[in-house]
Subunit: 357 residues, 2 copies
Amino acid sequence: MKQYAADTVRKQILSVLAAWGMAPERAEITAEVMVDTDLLGIDSHGISMLPMYQRLIDAGKLDTGAEMVIEREGASTAVVNGGHNLGHSTMVTAMQLATAKARETGVGVVTVKRSHHFGAAGYYARIAVDSGQIGLVTSTTPTKTVVPTRGSRPVLGTNPLAFAAPSANADEPFLLDMSTSTVAMNKVKVYDYLSKPLPAGWVLDGLAQPVTDSHAAYSQLREQQHGGLSPLGGTEALSSHKGYGLALMVQILAGALAGATFAPLREPSDPNDIGHFCLVIDPAFFGDREQFAASVSQIVDTLRAEPPASPDRPVLVPGDIERTVRAERLEGGIPLSDALVGQIRDICTHNEAPFHL
Amino acid sequence: MKQYAADTVRKQILSVLAAWGMAPERAEITAEVMVDTDLLGIDSHGISMLPMYQRLIDAGKLDTGAEMVIEREGASTAVVNGGHNLGHSTMVTAMQLATAKARETGVGVVTVKRSHHFGAAGYYARIAVDSGQIGLVTSTTPTKTVVPTRGSRPVLGTNPLAFAAPSANADEPFLLDMSTSTVAMNKVKVYDYLSKPLPAGWVLDGLAQPVTDSHAAYSQLREQQHGGLSPLGGTEALSSHKGYGLALMVQILAGALAGATFAPLREPSDPNDIGHFCLVIDPAFFGDREQFAASVSQIVDTLRAEPPASPDRPVLVPGDIERTVRAERLEGGIPLSDALVGQIRDICTHNEAPFHL
């Protein structure tokens, strides 16, 4: 796959966002978040989303010119309306707001409604870490892909949850960024492409039995109204009710609390109305800031020093893999498939935007 | 198994706590929490803990006469020192504090250090619901039982997480109460007792391979220094790194933030120093309180109405099973094994406490 410098990818994203009429300062932030997501190796959530965003614009569901509005604000809380624009820059503002409130009162909670896709949740959790704080971010998802424990069809989204905390080493924060499903759709797609059997528990059929043929699984996920991705845990025997419960927790925080829609209750013609939830906690209100970061380091260093089950596969902590990929990609570039580059060329042509790839 | 009325169980717990020198108002609350836990069917965390508490007292590690102290307090935050007493009544106070702060500022975060076992985390999350708020509770655990993804030996605890939210029906709150491991030790013990093979992924050996022989698994968990319970997900192929990451999130909130010990860094002679974390959010700061409860009901009712994979096993939501068990036990009593009743008789004799079972 051809590799592109991060700056080139950023420039390309910016040119498309500008052509879509996004305000320059918002477009800068959005491009920055998207490139960072690609640098971390989360390929499904960065520049590869542009074709999906174009489809949303064409369907009249995404308003790239909209302003976000802070509808309500208190000492520790705020409510943001994203105006049906992309979620990236809205969420950067929301997290900055939560961070400022946590600086004053120890805690900040900000909810966002009427939003859209925002890339990877981890980016926003890390904003808290940049000021020495703890960040927790969740989001609803508009697509019904995950089957509840004991259920027969997809009704929940992959409802992500990200949690970040500073360690004593500023370059190595703790960063957990996960969907509450066992895996994302994209992983099944890759196994289908490679004709590799799936681990039993990634995808379930309408009788809650694991589907291990990756072709059958991927075609079921795309075309069938039964079965779906499993909640974290995989099967009921392996406690998928916990992953399912976490998905509902995310739905309650980013959906019910934020005032955003629950996907199964949304009509196809309704706006996506994705909701996000931001929590920031300032450790200085609970003890010494440096002591907290040192304690986080003690925890993660203890784990990294654990004897691994196989000598060539060390015990990692959340954030380690993404940090390695980021260093590699800053050096060697971001790999983009020819198919994706072709789609982006089409978007540029369609919008009369400069093509840079 | 013989069944005992909840009032009898409460009276028995109270008589032991009083003999241990616990202040009457604390003992009342502790007994109430423990009986409620037994009523919900969480048998491993209620009255059956008395023998363990006796061992902690005998080892000089549990101070049942200690007072809790609020060491620091702000508009949205507080830091509590549990004084090495049992965690139950300390946590009830901590959650009441968080609830009061959330009522004023929209959010309350209270941490607890120098605490002990507190039973089931869900009880405390529900305290927020009783005043129409959202509650999130996590706790560290002193025993190393869970092996990190790719690791070869137990280093983490089962680090529980509970989340509760009110629904439109006051008797049916959403209540998720889970360990971040696939299952708790107790479930392996039951399979060992029944000579039933374990689902592959509950217990891993030192090479990160599933152990399915329940006798081998249970004896490994009790006697060996390798392998252990798996984090939620089960195996690395089924994304156990997510359960592992959640266990670390709990450790950071209830341990590093609260200023409590990380079990692997504790010497056997050190106090247990368990830490807890409480978050309460008042939905009235983000919209209408009734609308929020109605949205939660819409979510859970949608799921309960989903067609199940097998007709006789309906789709449930977190809290449903415990509610059913509670109704049964309020009617028919709490089952206690003769072995446990014998142990409690011994405790009563040893402490000259009245025996009521």
